[in-house]
């Protein structure tokens, strides 16, 4: 255990995970409060009819995207300064991202149960609707797994934008924004019901993703490609001290 704790990957993932969770809980705390207040004062809103797990899915994705953009270059610079290799830094930040995504799904699930508990004790009506991935209602576990996979795609592509801008400066860095918009748009659209497969006016009825496992496989493949591209950029990225 001591050997593990002294390994740079452990230190990096621990540091980044704690920071991610601190920021995430602050942001999500504010969103939960807004959700709760809207639930009391404004009933006529689709978002508040959703369960916490579903209502927080998009905010968590956006949070991880932004965290990826901000942290993309910051962590590289920070940990290189402490004598950590790019390889270890990359592994640590990736692991922390996976752990944060899983943790945030668990937090969202706990909030869902908590809202049901509050409903039983107070005059409050908790939202129950879930995101209908591929047009079907899914259980908690499947929803959590799909949410987590999609959130990781957001995180990786946010990270790509951050490191792309850092390494290739503004003009070429801008290509990474286009890439992220394109990939996230396609992947997001793919999880909608078949009737809504339309990305920027183009129909996406090319692949049959009506089956859960096919959509999941395509999402995972995108994730893997994103990670490989990220590592290719990261592994020899020069760092400027000033």
């Amino acid at each position: 255990m001591q050997k593990l704790k002294s390994h740079p990957v452990y230190k990096v993932s621990k540091d980044v995970y704690l920071l991610q969770m601190l920021w995430a809980l602050l942001v999500l705390g504010a969103i939960v409060l807004i959700h709760f207040l809207l639930g009391i004062f404004v009933r006529d809103l689709a978002w508040i009819d959703r369960s916490a797990l579903s209502a927080l899915a998009n905010p968590i994705q956006v949070f991880m995207l932004i965290f990826g953009i901000i942290g993309g270059a910051y962590f590289l610079k920070h940990f290189i300064r402490h004598g950590v290799t790019r390889k270890h830094c990359f592994a640590g930040v990736l692991i922390s991202g996976v752990l944060a995504v899983v943790s945030l799904q668990i937090v969202a699930l706990l909030l869902t149960f908590l809202s049901y508990g509050i409903e039983a004790l107070a005059p409050y009506e908790a939202g129950r609707e879930t995101i209908a991935y591929l047009g079907q209602e899914r259980g908690y576990l499947v929803s959590m797994i799909v949410n987590a996979a999609l959130t990781l795609v957001y995180y990786i592509f946010g990270w790509l934008i951050g490191i792309g801008f850092y390494r290739y400066k503004v003009l070429r860095g801008f290509a990474f924004i286009l890439l992220a918009v394109f990939v996230l748009g396609i992947i997001g659209t793919m999880w909608l019901p078949e009737s809504e497969w339309n990305f920027m006016g183009i129909s996406l009825n090319l692949i049959d993703t009506s089956r859960l496992w096919v959509a999941f496989l395509i999402t995972d493949a995108t994730l893997l490609l994103g990670i490989l591209l990220l590592y290719a950029i990261y592994r020899k990225a020069p760092v400027s001290p000033h």
């Binding site: 740079p8 230190k11 402490h82 004598g83 950590v84 001290p241």
Partner: protein, 300 residues
Amino acid sequence: MKTEARFQDIVLDYDEVRALDKVSCTLEEGKVYGLIGRNGAGKTSLLSLLASYREPSGGSLKVRDEAPFENAKIMKDIQFLYTYDMSEESETIEEYLKEVATFRERFDFEYAHTLLKRFGLNPKKKLNKLSTGMQSALLVVEGLASLSPITIFDEIHHGMDAPSRTTYYEAILESQRMHRRIIILSTHLVSEMAYLFDHVLILDRGKLLIDEPYDDVVERGVTITGAEKVVDDFTQGRTIIDTKTLGDTKAAMLYGSFTESDRKKAKEAGLQVSTVSLQELFIHLTKEDNHAKAEKPSGV
């Protein structure tokens, strides 16, 4: 194993610009190196390579006979310190040093606290509340207390007042006595820091002009003062890097071998011989037209 860093024909290109051009030198354990150069000379580039911030475009760099880039064993032993924006850092000095210690296995907390006290830094103070000079002092504490075998201070004295700079210089000497390692001081404050250097590296436009022990460098520089004609006769065939004339009196700054016999001859000719500081040598050797003279001084 002794720590040694060997640069062999190192080249570094940034797109079209050559930042380092065939730089070769060896850094040895137990020495304080003064890395001197004008703005844009390539100092930070050279240090960035040593700290694995980037890879060289050509040549070979070895630390303990291994390439340092992406080498976990080597990178953890090299500490590159430079001033950076701490305005977003809300942790306290104590927390910051604890974080540093998790990555630097030799970190000495007791020594760190001694240094903090000496610099008048309160461990409970937040980083973003520190003045520029205090931030620099904290970086000195970090660098010295980490006891890394290669410690690099890149223009760290920014914002430090004179007493803090003196504390910094004293701490460098004291630390080097206690824990022998390679310390590199990249600086513009040559006159103030020269006495700290065991060895001098002068970089100019990407080329290493001087790579010699401090004493040898300063011994090479002399100023000959006297009647203009006598000075001209005496300095004929020698490397002159600067001249000043006032009426009939001329002062010529020479760079190269200057023996006891030369000194005697100068005296006999009624000339005054005075030493030249490293600062003066640096200023004149890095002048556009003196570049070649520094590379091939007379009598060497």
